[in-house]
């Protein structure tokens, strides 16, 4: 495999890692309204992801940074064409990050309600937005010369892209519910499990539809197999959930998102962003890659950096492995 191809797949892996990790913490944020009945339960939810959400979020920073370094035209075209969706995502991420840190800093219901709303919006908008952006990019956009979007904002809302938005939001909500079932104790754990079990099929439906739609439109043999694995893993996750094996369900959901990202990225390969205006405007792995020297540099950095990241992030999950429940939440202590 040449370096540009390798980096195309590395970026796919980074997005997979991001959707897998931040996927469940988005889901937990979405659940703060659906699942928690009072402030203590809301604190239980927020604290299940408290130590890890920031580390999860960096995966998108690295994915975007790696795209900039390895495929500058991809970075430039994706972010300028998807200007307003990306802006919304950024605003959501800004508010969300601050909200986790600031929510408990003042003991007032009004204060908490305000930040809870920010957490809720901040957890719904990014998966919807990233689903739209990544699916749109992977399935083709009306891109003209110089990566300029032709046709305005409406052109971004293609059928696959809209389905992608719903797919990632649905996935995140289910993934988050399973995570809460794994990570908490007491009544909230059972409610999370019941919610996942009851709405699981519905939440995975857009993802299944997306996988099928994309493969029908532009699939090849390999990506069809990958997509099929994804569909089976989704079904398997629901079955294991019914058997109360939440850990297995969680892992299978990881397989779902990995298969989804890989089949999406792969079904357009070697194109990165197909232009629906004129194929000659399409960005491809070959015409967008940085020089071999630059790719070599970041390959070395990634070769040493990635194993370290996996080790210390894995260790974080080990340190905070215990289940938490309402009984563990310390009383509010603020000035």
């Amino acid at each position: 495999m040449d370096l540009p191809t390798l980096w195309f797949w590395v970026i796919a892996v980074l997005w997979t890692g991001y959707f897998f990790l931040e996927g469940f913490d988005f889901g937990v944020g979405m659940l703060t309204r659906l699942l928690a009945r009072d402030n203590t339960e809301r604190r239980v939810l927020v604290n299940t992801i408290g130590p890890v959400w920031d580390g999860n979020e960096v995966w998108v920073i690295v994915a975007i940074g790696a795209t900039f370094a390895a495929f500058p035209p991809w970075y430039a075209t994706m972010l300028s064409a998807e200007y307003l969706p990306v802006l919304l995502i950024l605003l959501a991420l800004i508010g969300r990050g601050v909200a986790f840190e600031y929510r408990g800093k003042v003991d007032s219901d009004r204060w908490r309600r305000g930040w809870d709303l920010v957490i809720l919006l901040g957890s719904w908008i990014p998966p919807l937005g990233w689903g739209l952006v990544i699916t749109g990019v992977a399935t083709g956009l009306p891109i003209g010369k110089d990566g300029v979007l032709v046709g305005g904002l409406g052109a971004l809302f293609t059928w696959p892209a809209v389905l992608g938005a719903l797919a990632l939001a649905g996935f995140s909500l289910l993934h988050g519910s399973v995570f809460v079932a794994l990570k908490t104790d007491g009544e909230i754990r059972h409610r999370a499990h019941a919610l996942a079990l009851r709405f699981g099929p519905l939440l995975l439906l857009p993802m299944a539809a997306l996988l099928v739609l994309v493969q029908v439109r532009q699939g090849g043999l390999v990506t069809i197999v990958i997509a099929a694995v994804g569909l089976l893993a989704g079904a398997g996750a629901l079955v294991r959930l019914a058997a109360k094996r939440e850990g297995q369900a969680f892992a299978l959901l990881g397989l779902v998102i990995a298969a989804a990202v890989m089949s999406l990225f792969g079904s357009d390969f070697p194109a990165i962003i197909s232009s629906t205006v004129d194929p000659s405007f399409s960005l491809t792995v070959a015409n967008s890659a940085s020089s071999p020297y630059t790719l070599g540099v970041i390959t070395w950095v990634a070769a040493f950096g990635t194993p370290a990241i996996l080790v210390y992030q894995g260790w974080t999950y080990w340190v905070f492995r215990k289940r938490i429940s309402a009984a563990h939440i310390p009383p509010v202590h603020v000035p």
């Binding site: 927020v46 690295v62 370094a69 300028s80 307003l84 990566g147 940085s290 202590h333």
Partner: protein, 496 residues
């Protein structure tokens, strides 16, 4: 307004805002790590209280630094996509390295530190803070090497009209980058130093001005004040030294920026340093400018020699025109500027006054740190109100100095976004007007400018409100009540 203007305003606002958090984060996180180290080594209670108190303020600020940093990574692609296409081969590499090597470490270990109290062994917990704080310093290094490449492009060759990286080592050891990094980090410690001095001085005065009782709290504040003042003093010395190095490099690499910083219109030998100008500094012919000057100092600042010639704006313009052309290229993407004459002179009032405000505010902060040290010598506590007031006010001054320095260095390189390297590869430069995204409308950028500014405005109010609240509450606000017993299976030593 056209896209270029709005995009420049957005970049300026988001960057200067982000850069309010960054120096405090860098300085304070290392200071807190030092405090916690002192606690782990000695076991003294006041070190723990200091760690918890200043650590809480650090976290309130850290969160804002992280979230506003995300915007920076995205807006090159959103509003400056032509720039990103042009320089991606070079500029993307340090950004990717920052993510993989620094930012991942910072975010992960900060989470471990926040939630790891009493869950992790003491030394491991301390190591987490060191990892997070050193990684945030490393972040600054990678970002500043990317920025310094725009100020002074090195390590490249020109292929098909675009710069291509030939040596990452040259980019990371760019003399401009090393000077900018040491200057910025010193600035961060200056911010942290005055922050400690201001808040500690206020607490000392508030509760302890009349009592001779040497209670635990008093120890916290007097130790913090001493530490802050010393850090401040050392930091300001480092700021001055590194600033001098940076200035000398700039005279070689971007002579127009330094001429503009001095409102030096005509070449002088020896050149005098302008302390204060009155009249209209915005005219490049300096017709109405009167200036209070120190003879020959500018020659020394530029070349370490009191007699060397320093070129003025008027004499630099023809040199730039000869090298880089009289007119912008004829290109529809340049809009109204296409084919028009290039103005090589940056905004003179902004560069001239930006430079002076940077130095002036830095000097005030240094003076306040020195004064604090003198007034509290041998455990004294000033009884008059003016000193704690002055100390509190002086917290703002290094922030202002940092902002003006940043504005000066970015505005001073106009009309270039990538400034040509006088001794580097010919033809590697880019005009700011060429860098903006084609196909992104002024309306879109204006939308994001308004949305980001509004959100940043609200968050600024919230951050200051929380900082003031926690700063006022003192140690009691961050230490759990003494009667609270911890059980052994404590899952959450700390919870949001």
């Amino acid at each position: 307004m056209d896209v270029l203007d709005v995009a420049r305003w957005q970049f300026a606002i988001t960057t200067v805002y982000h850069f309010l958090m960054v120096p405090l984060t860098i300085g304070l996180s290392i200071v807190v790590a030092v405090m916690q180290t002192a606690w782990v080594r000695t076991g003294k209670a006041h070190y723990l209280a200091m760690t918890k108190f200043w650590g809480k303020l650090m976290l309130v600020n850290f969160a804002m630094g992280v979230v506003t940093g995300i915007v920076q990574e995205f807006q090159f692609g959103m509003t400056w996509s032509a720039y990103s296409r042009f320089v991606g081969d070079v500029f993307g590499a340090p950004l990717a390295m920052e993510g993989i090597v620094a930012f991942m470490v910072e975010s992960t270990f900060l989470g471990l530190w926040i939630f790891g109290w009493s869950r992790l062994p003491k030394r491991v917990h301390l190591a987490c803070l060191w990892a997070a704080s050193l990684a945030s310093t490393a972040s600054a290094y990678f970002i500043l090497s990317a920025n310094s490449w725009m100020q002074h492009p090195v390590g490249i060759q020109l292929v098909d009209g675009k710069p291509q990286l030939t040596s990452i080592w040259a980019l990371l050891t760019n003399n401009t980058a090393i000077a900018a990094f040491t200057h910025t980090v010193s600035g961060g410690f200056a911010v942290a130093g005055t922050f400690l001095v201001g808040i500690s001085a206020w607490h000392l005065w508030k509760k302890h001005k009349l009592s001779a009782v040497d209670d635990a709290d008093r120890k916290v504040w007097s130790a913090s004040l001493k530490l802050g003042a010393w850090i401040g003093m050392v930091a300001f010395a480092a700021v001055a030294l590194t600033g001098d190095t940076q200035g000398k490099l700039m005279f070689q690499q971007q002579p127009m920026k330094m001429a503009a910083a001095e409102a030096l219109c005509h070449t002088e030998a020896p050149a005098s340093f302008s302390i204060f100008a009155y009249g209209d500094v915005s005219r490049p012919d300096c017709e109405n400018v009167k200036s209070i000057t120190v003879p020959a100092l500018l020659s020394f600042l530029a070349h370490n020699d009191f007699s060397t010639e320093v070129k003025g704006v008027q004499d630099l313009i023809p040199l730039y025109e000869q090298k880089y052309g009289h007119n912008y290229p004829v290109d529809p993407s340049l809009g109204a500027l296409s084919g028009q004459p290039i103005d090589y002179v940056p905004d003179l009032p902004v560069t001239y006054w930006g430079f002076r405000f940077m130095i002036g505010f830095g000097g005030i902060a240094a003076g306040a740190a020195l004064l604090a040290l003198w007034l509290t010598r041998r455990g004294r506590i000033p009884r008059t109100k003016w000193f704690p007031r002055l100390a509190l006010l002086s917290i703002a001054t290094p922030f202002l100095a940092n902002s003006f320095g940043w504005i000066f260095t970015e505005m001073g390189r106009q009309p270039f976004v990538v400034v040509p390297n006088p001794t580097g590869v010919d033809g590697v430069f880019m005009y700011t007007a060429q860098a903006v995204s084609p196909g992104v409308s002024a309306g879109q950028v204006l939308t994001s400018l308004i949305a980001l500014t509004a959100v940043y405005g609200v968050l600024a109010v919230v951050e200051v409100f929380l900082l003031v609240r926690y700063a006022k509450a003192g140690v009691a606000g961050v230490m759990p009540p003494a009667d609270e017993k911890k059980s052994d299976d404590d899952v959450l030593a700390f919870a949001y």
